[in-house]
């Protein structure tokens, strides 16, 4: 059994984990989710440094990392799915009045 840490969850409020090594589809990852150990089955390959969903995120729902919303899901993201620029939009807008 490979005991290397596969992914990291920064805070208890996060709904994504970040892969520490490249992970393959169907691979299982053990995480602590809100204090409880859980096993997540991956639906896609997750490159190193990329995120995957710890639970389903509804379309329009917040992607939470560092305990804060880092973006909005542009489509429903199932548990174990790759979370990145293809299914997340930034909330950030240019400050009003800036030319």
């Amino acid at each position: 059994m490979d005991n290397r840490r596969k992914a990291i969850v920064i805070t208890k409020q996060d709904n994504v984990a970040t892969a520490l090594i490249p992970l393959a589809p169907d691979e299982t990852v053990s995480v602590i989710l809100q204090g409880r150990p859980e096993v997540i089955k991956l639906l896609s390959s997750i490159p190193k440094g990329h995120k995957f969903a710890l639970q389903e995120i509804a379309a329009g729902g917040d992607v939470i990392k560092y305990g804060e919303p880092i973006g909005q899901a542009t489509t429903r993201i199932p548990r174990g799915e790759h979370v990145h620029v293809h299914n997340v939009a930034s909330h950030t807008k240019t400050t009003e009045g800036v030319p």
Binding site: N3, R4, R5, I8, I10, T11, T18, A19, L20, P47, K48, G49, H50, K51, V63, K65, Y66, G67, E68, P69, I70, G71, V83, H84, V85, V88, A89, S90, H91, T92, T94, T95, V98, P99
Partner: protein, 385 residues
């Protein structure tokens, strides 16, 4: 919990015991350097400003130099002026006097020559060093510690290991009653509303938003759209999805507590807990501002490596990149890559950082200090004439 510090007349406690030489203008900087040469326990500030500056910059230069002078890590100060500069040595000295420490000033043009000035300066400094040697460390509560937090040369490990670990240590220090300074205003852009929400009062939140808007506007006026440039293609390939994620990965080093105050560049915080200082993201300008504002110790996260240190405050470097720790062992103090290997939690690493902070505050030398890194640069707002 205590650290062993030097109690000063003004009441604050220092982590170091330097005799400091401050050139009030760039013209006397070389003389200040010559006075400091080979005198152990003495440092000079490589300041090149103090003349030909617009009002706001003159004020900022003065505030920064005085901030270093009154700093509790400094036993005594010699200010060296040229004689015709706008920011006179006497003015700087008078700004430092209320701290109760020994302050002297000498002026090249009055002394009749550079060599004479150096000789007189070295005599004064040697006397101060002799007196400084009589100072002893005593137990000081952690609530009197002001930590400056910084990240530079970041890579993917910064947002996943070193910044969260430093954030955990920051929370521990705030819990102990101490102060943590978060800075680098441009890095907030993208997450400024999230940070503003954590402010103690809406007024402080508004100050944060005004500060980030100023930086964004200034960058735009020079042709750079900060929001469009970040995350970069390299960031995206590495897994960073949004600007919020990138900014939060940086901001997280300040921890999770309420933001108690926002202060301008090189201003001392008046509150304990987590405070924000408006500084550039430039590593050395940011460092200089936090030390001028009273930070007695700095913890600096890095992923790609940097040797930067500060003249009067110890800078502890930490990294989450195990390869960096191996290749730049002479510049990095602490390795927290165990977080990424699953061998340590973020909280455990945070505890280790706090322990290292207490050791360093109490006298342990950092790698940057061993290397003699004394980086100093004042954030300049406008043009010099």
């Amino acid at each position: 919990m205590n650290f062993q510090g030097y109690r000063r007349a003004a009441g604050k406690a220092g982590t170091r015991n330097y005799v400091l030489i401050i050139p009030s203008v760039g013209c006397s900087q070389g003389t200040a350097a010559a006075i400091a040469r080979n005198l152990k326990g003495t440092v000079y500030l490589p300041n090149i400003f103090g003349c030909g500056q617009m009002a706001a910059d003159r004020e900022q230069t003065k505030r920064t130099l005085v901030g270093f002078g009154v700093h509790p890590n400094v036993y005594g100060v010699l200010v060296v002026g040229n004689g015709c500069e706008s920011l006179a040595a006497q003015e700087i000295a008078e700004g430092i006097l209320p701290s109760g420490k020994r302050v002297e000033f000498i002026v090249l043009q009055d002394m009749g020559g550079t060599r004479k000035t150096i000789a007189v300066g070295r005599r004064i400094v040697k006397e101060m060093l002799s007196d400084a040697a009589q100072c002893n460390r005593e137990p000081v509560p952690l609530s009197e510690l002001v930590l400056g937090t910084e990240c530079g040369g970041s890579d993917y490990t910064s947002g996943l290991a070193s910044n969260p670990a430093l954030g955990s240590a920051s929370d521990l220090l705030v819990e102990a009653g101490g102060t943590v300074i978060l800075s680098e205003t441009p890095e907030l852009i993208g997450a400024e509303h999230l940070i503003a929400r954590r402010a103690r009062t809406p007024a402080i939140g508004k100050q944060i938003l005004e500060a980030t808007a100023w930086w964004e506007h200034e960058a735009m006026a020079s042709g750079q759209n900060i929001r469009e440039a970040d995350p970069s293609p390299g960031n995206i390939a590495g897994g960073i999805t949004t600007l919020e994620e990138k900014s939060l990965g940086c901001i997280y080093k300040g921890g999770t507590t309420t933001l108690e105050e926002m202060v301008p560049y090189a201003f001392p915080p008046s509150k304990k807990g987590l405070v924000f200082m408006d500084t550039p993201a430039h590593d050395i300008e940011q460092l200089t501002g936090m030390v001028a504002g009273g930070a007695q110790i700095i913890v600096f996260t890095t992923g790609r490596g940097t040797p930067v240190g500060s003249p009067i405050a110890p800078v502890i470097k930490i990294t989450g990149n195990t390869d960096l720790y191996r290749t730049m062992r002479d510049s990095v103090d602490l390795d927290v890559s165990q977080i990424l290997a699953g061998k340590e939690t973020i909280q455990e690493a945070g505890q280790r950082i706090l322990v290292e902070m207490i050791s360093v505050a109490s006298g342990k030398e950092t790698k940057a200090e061993k290397l003699g890194q004394r980086d100093f640069s004042i954030f300049k707002i406008g043009i010099n004439i």
